[in-house]
Symmetry: C2
Subunit: 235 residues, 2 copies
């Protein structure tokens, strides 16, 4: 979307931010009329925004049934961790080869903001700052054929990362610290045009996320008696 500030781009930005931060939960139904009222535009441009978001994977459009925030199923989580390491390694290698000096500066600034968000930002601030960092590496790679999948991955990466940017355990805090260090090393490798090193770092960075999620999906267990079975599915 255009970078200037129009009601349309504001609505777009707000929806993207809401979806990335889980403020708009996966599966949420998006009512055209409500969104129009909130952002002060009519249905025609709002529908175009929703259609663009659909093309980018943020929302799903169903015939005569409106838009809903795209789901994050168990199956898609598997597909995610199959695709992510490969794509990200490719992106970082290309980024190391093709980056401009200005982009390296931009990436370093994004890392500064990320670190500040880790110190005094909200969970959403952290996830968004991390997202921004990775999107810059995507721009550096400068490959229009890889970007569509990369951006689709970043969408779910941001949503997944919301679980561990609200650290509860020491393990969570360690994960965040390691991620921060990875970013520093990624900047170094890209600045040095070291494609091989960048590729390795991509693998390591994703392994970190994957392990964290594995622990989240399969927690250690609490050693307590079973609760009563659920009465019925909600909704």
């Amino acid at each position: 979307m255009q970078s200037e500030s129009s009601p349309k781009s504001n609505a777009y930005d707000a929806l993207v931010a809401g979806i990335l931060t889980l403020d708009l939960a996966p599966g949420t139904d998006l009512d055209e009329a409500r969104l129009c009222a909130e952002h002060g535009l009519s249905r025609t441009p709002m529908r175009e925004v929703l259609r663009q978001l659909a093309g980018e994977g943020y929302v799903t459009l169903r015939q005569n049934r409106g838009a809903q925030v795209s789901e994050m199923s168990h199956a898609s989580l598997r597909a995610f961790f199959i695709a992510a390491p490969m794509i990200y390694a490719a992106i970082l290698q290309l980024a190391a080869e093709n980056r401009t000096p200005a982009q390296v500066v931009e990436l370093a600034e994004a890392q500064d903001i990320f670190i500040r968000a880790l110190r005094n930002g909200s969970t959403a601030d952290r996830a968004l700052a991390n997202d921004r960092f990775h999107r810059i590496t995507g721009e550096m790679a400068d490959n229009p054929f890889l970007l569509p999948s990369f951006n689709r991955l970043l969408l779910d990466h941001a949503r997944i990362s919301m679980t561990f940017y609200a650290p509860r355990t020491d393990a969570d805090k360690n994960t965040i610290k390691t991620a921060r260090d990875h970013h520093e090393q990624i900047i170094e490798a890209i600045d040095a045009r070291d494609a091989a090193r960048a590729g390795e770092l991509a693998q390591a960075h994703w392994a970190l996320s994957r392990d964290r999620i594995a622990q989240f999906v399969m927690p250690g267990g609490l050693d307590l008696p079973l609760g009563p079975p659920p009465q019925e599915a909600r909704l």
Copy 2:
């Protein structure tokens, strides 16, 4: 887009086919009013179609300046052959692992149509039949994170392939024959759930395209005297 037949989906399909077959050349300006008249719908739904096509990479939207068929530059050709082998190898490996029996039948049928197109079809028929074959492998892979890039690749692959599905030399004819054989072997590997073999075939299949394009971009030379220098650049 929905598979049923509505004015909207007809317009979508027509535009996609036109773009894939170079009938609508890269850079062509698309006039909303003209398209509306041709396909019998008003501007609102047509604009939504164009916006969807933009999301899928078929067209480019410029602020207040309408849509144009997306370009195929020299730079993007390089990016194309960097991304294609990796993505396609991943797609075919996953296809071998995840395909359903029904999909294998579908793929075999697509290959039949492809072979028929090679015998008595037009250049466009061949390129579209080849495109259909590969899109089915994409569906088989069943990975929503890889599909965006894969589909983006297939768009330009179809357009590039238009140059060698109108065979002029024996080399062109050999390329087509080899591509056909590759397809047969791909079906076998996928049917046998042989992911490793499928991955190898993907590499071989792209190497074929790449060599063909390399020869097209850098032809053998004619051993003739130089013509007069061009007076000015066209456009």
